[in-house]
Symmetry: C2
Subunit: 493 residues, 2 copies
Amino acid sequence: MAKELKELTKRADNYSQWYNDLVSKADLAEQAPVRGCMVIKPYGFAIWEKMKEQLDKEFKKTGVQNAYFPLLIPKSFLSKEAEHVKGFAKECAVVTHYRLKSSEDGKTVVVDPAAKLDEELIIRPTSETIIWNTYRGWIHSWRDLPLMCNQWCNVMRWEMRTRPFLRTSEFLWQEGHTAHATRVEAEAEAQKMLKVYADFAENWMAVPVLQGVKSETERFAGALDTYTIEAMMQDGKALQSGTSHFLGQNFAKSFDVTFLNKENKPEYVWATSWGVSTRLMGALIMVHSDDNGLVLPPKLAPIEVVIVPIFKGDEQHNAISTKLQPVIDKLQELGISVKYDDSDNKRPGFKFADYELKGVPVRLVMGGRDLENNTIEIMRRDTLEKENVSFDGIVERVKDLLDNIQNNMFEKARKYRDAHVYECDNYDEFKERVKDGGFYLCHWDGTEETEAKIKEDTQATIRCVPFAYEQTEGIDMVSGKPAKCRVIIARSY
Amino acid sequence: MAKELKELTKRADNYSQWYNDLVSKADLAEQAPVRGCMVIKPYGFAIWEKMKEQLDKEFKKTGVQNAYFPLLIPKSFLSKEAEHVKGFAKECAVVTHYRLKSSEDGKTVVVDPAAKLDEELIIRPTSETIIWNTYRGWIHSWRDLPLMCNQWCNVMRWEMRTRPFLRTSEFLWQEGHTAHATRVEAEAEAQKMLKVYADFAENWMAVPVLQGVKSETERFAGALDTYTIEAMMQDGKALQSGTSHFLGQNFAKSFDVTFLNKENKPEYVWATSWGVSTRLMGALIMVHSDDNGLVLPPKLAPIEVVIVPIFKGDEQHNAISTKLQPVIDKLQELGISVKYDDSDNKRPGFKFADYELKGVPVRLVMGGRDLENNTIEIMRRDTLEKENVSFDGIVERVKDLLDNIQNNMFEKARKYRDAHVYECDNYDEFKERVKDGGFYLCHWDGTEETEAKIKEDTQATIRCVPFAYEQTEGIDMVSGKPAKCRVIIARSY
């Protein structure tokens, strides 16, 4: 068994360490020399690229166009929207100078004090301000609406405690920013994009998510409503995996963006914004993987099928390769990504462990006896089940198995999640149980006081008012007052 | 005729203003509120996306993998490679602080002086330093080589004089960084990627380029050789459109990146880097467009065919739409992007002018008489020729015309370029003629003095030692000394 694999911490021993180990050993990402930033390695980036490609397609289907807005935002912009400034004008990377010069001894470089900017520039933590400043020039009449742009880019928030993919100072994301003529249309857009995210999470990542709306405290800074998809990790904690915001007219008012309606009267524009980030990588890893390594859903796996021949000498090598080549060709014709690993500088056992670690969904192995018997070994990564099967019809079998794995992974995760959603209206019981993870469906009186107390007592937060559960009447378990709604409460990443 | 079109400056009147007008009026990009930065608008970005998609495919075919490295580089990294520091540690955006706080009056935000970084961070002007610092951990043995990564990202160089796409403080690009076991392999890689760039420019952008190698003065900071593709704009100036660098072992030595060779002895790794940027957009615009607006090669046009019906009343509208629908469907099945513009809030004349401005390669128009006669009007944007043709077989006709336009645009640009390459070994003649543009094939003694004098006298620079022209013996036109080589000299963007 490969050295790397042996060193992977077990989930039961230390879930958090298991995650960090996995990110590093499966070649997904590593810590960069700049605090809180990461290098996304080729294998990790290939997964992100697949996510991007599919999401981008879905966005474009809804009429969204991509564009690019500047990295740097004038400091004054951040102060323009009152709520937004509270949320984002804090832990930001600030550019103050625009030139370096040689040090006096000529051995190094120093900042040139003469090259100080008149106004500091902020590396975007999110782009509402610069985009709404730009939209002012693009929107004049109702004919210019809706305006729906998205950008794929890097953003930066100077996070104090960071973890690869889950919370990093720099991360990659997409941010959609739409402008509409009416409140109804903007609200519908925010909800539509939440649906796009939920469908992607469930159908591509095989990650079941609860859709819902955030409490006021947890809203995006400047939003009237923040919609969220919440996924459950294997330790029962929640991971907010994507958000969509109905921004009302706040940014339009702050940046003076109006349009002439059909009656030729000026009105402020209605806005939404919505984003998912490399955080999705964290969800993907944590929901499915096991003590042997990554488990990837076929639809997002950079390699869907790995084929390992076991041979002695060139003759057998050639015979097996010749037998396998048509299978490789046919799988590739079907759009399935295949790796044929007949390298002879690694032993088969090392290869097996390595592809398990990397989460390749299906492994085929053919040795001399298989060649004689017209058989092949097929293993599925999700359950680790393996079977020796007839070589005939192997292409169809692999194709079906990939579909089966995709569905099985979703069902497994959904069952796990559903088994860990608890109705609870007793605060003592809640405090005791929430330590062990799970989503708690509780009645809430709607006050910030209750929310704050729960967080202080248990570190758990209100994740959302979930759409999937009925809103029943009840009593707030903390205050004893009549509830305004039922919410999901959980500890979270 | 549309208002926007009337206002487009003519090339003959002011080529430079024509370019700026076009970028803005064709909705490609606009100036951002941050000095020297731009917003790439959806239409412009759609062209860039098509470029990216094709280039990315070509890179991957050669075995390159995408990855992502951090935006911010510790200042000290920039000093590590002696030549590199001279070239890049100058006009950089410097991050010195990581927090903002509310001003005393609470009305705005100020930089928190307590949140000063111990070491300043630089927004990457290019990523050799941070990538070679990372490669140290990835490369141990000859088995780890070659290592070939690329990233698509934003970079920043604090340019003093900026022009949209051609020279901006922030720009988008890709940067490939490869590591090899031998000098020969690294040199071959640098040359291979130059070929990928040249093929892309010629076959996709329809922009003919001269491939060649840069003089020492014009080399990338830290390279042993810089290869370039040089395109000629319609004013006869050169535009460096892509470069590929053979970096020798310079970065490996600066960042201590060694590998154990097959004899188990440590050796420094050999490196290349190569990049193209949103500058390509500038080349695309300037090579083909005319006084009516953009002219886009079909392979990169976001809309390849626009269809405009001319109708009075719903009945005729419906009849024409019904007749056209199968054509739209068939074109889309062939992978051709079609826009059917039957909007009734703009007059046909406005639409025609607007799609000309946007460079849509083919326009089809059908009116009532066409419907009666089973005909349709077809116009090609590159020559503005239009023809009334039979409706039967229109799909095939459009398909062939798109190929024809792609080839014709390349041939036209190639002929223009070839007609403006002059052999010249007389300095007085050179000085007189170079003002009017063109590429001058001259003998050069290989000295920096000659190079500097030419630049001082004429603003022209040595673009490259071109591969396509024979290296003949001759006399340097400036110094009168025997020449080392023949070079292309031109004024450039």
